[in-house]
Symmetry: C2
DNA sequence: CCTTTAGTTGAAGTGCACTTCAACTAAAGG
DNA sequence: CCTTTAGTTGAAGTGCACTTCAACTAAAGG
């Protein structure tokens, strides 16, 4: 019963591809020791880090923010359950807000798309404060949100 | 009071960059007539299409699926409010499911990350049936979800 | 000991949803 | 009529989160 894992083992147990694990290492999200032959050997505690990374992604957090969060873990010792709980708690309000916005979106969906009042710029569905992760990746917004736009009256 | 819009006008009223509008046209999501000088002129009804596109993106639907949805609108006539309501209703179950999964994630967050029971492959947080849009874009999964993985007992 | 399986690297590729650029033309204002 | 502002195109670039590839080396099994 070895107490370190090869990259293949960590991959199988975490469900994360080896290439992704190497990528995480490059970003400083996880770490590994090396064998004499330069192969990675992961401490078992890394398994929990990987779990935290994947769960955080579900919450809609970017790898960069996840890295920042992980950096706040204690340096010397293996993080305790409480350390992890504290870390995960920090995603909580984010998750709450996300759920709130989606619920709002759902409750206004028929009405707002269907009706004639669709006054884009002021619509709940249109201006959810860019907090939804559904926005997707890619280059940043070109129009920062036109402040000089007319009140936007909808057609007949 | 012209009843067609230039790309700049449509951009300001919809809050969507001109480059994005051209992109949507290339993908077949919206359409425009052309002036003698080859400039785009949008019918006012396109405003609602753009609104539908942006709202659908909030729901987490890809442009490709949005295109498919828009293709189901009636061909000859301008879509009625009911047409739009029907279309938006089709996102509803998706939204419900997404909200359900996020709520589940929230309710298990502390417990699952903090405790020693974190049994990755079987965890609610880990296997939400790839239905969350939070997964992000990019290349597809390499490991299709290892079926041959051991029961994954956690350390200590 | 040989073969197979698993690992290594850096560089390049992928997919989505765009934006940016260069080099140009059209339309609107004074 | 000239200038400014707004439009046109195709090609290339961007950011994120990875994957894929080529050319290799290490470790494990029989």
């Amino acid at each position: 019963m070895p107490d370190s894992l090869t990259i293949g083992e960590l991959s199988v147990r975490s469900g994360v591809a080896p290439s992704a694990l190497r990528y995480y290492e490059r970003l400083g999200l996880i770490r590994a020791d090396r064998t004499g032959g330069n192969q990675r050997r992961y401490a078992r505690a890394e398994l929990r880090r990987v779990a935290f990374i994947r769960i955080s992604q579900q919450v809609g957090v970017s790898l960069d923010e996840i890295r920042a969060a992980l950096d706040s873990l204690p340096e010397g010792r293996t993080p305790s359950p409480q350390d992890w709980a504290q870390l995960s708690a920090s995603w909580r309000s984010r998750l709450d807000e996300k759920i709130r916005l989606l619920a709002e979106l759902r409750d206004n969906l028929d009405g707002c798309i269907g009706c004639g009042c669709l006054s884009l710029q002021r619509c709940v569905l249109y201006n959810p404060g860019d907090a939804l992760a559904g926005e997707g990746p890619g280059a940043r917004l070109m129009l920062p949100r036109p402040a000089d736009a007319p009140p936007a009256v909808t057609p007949g």
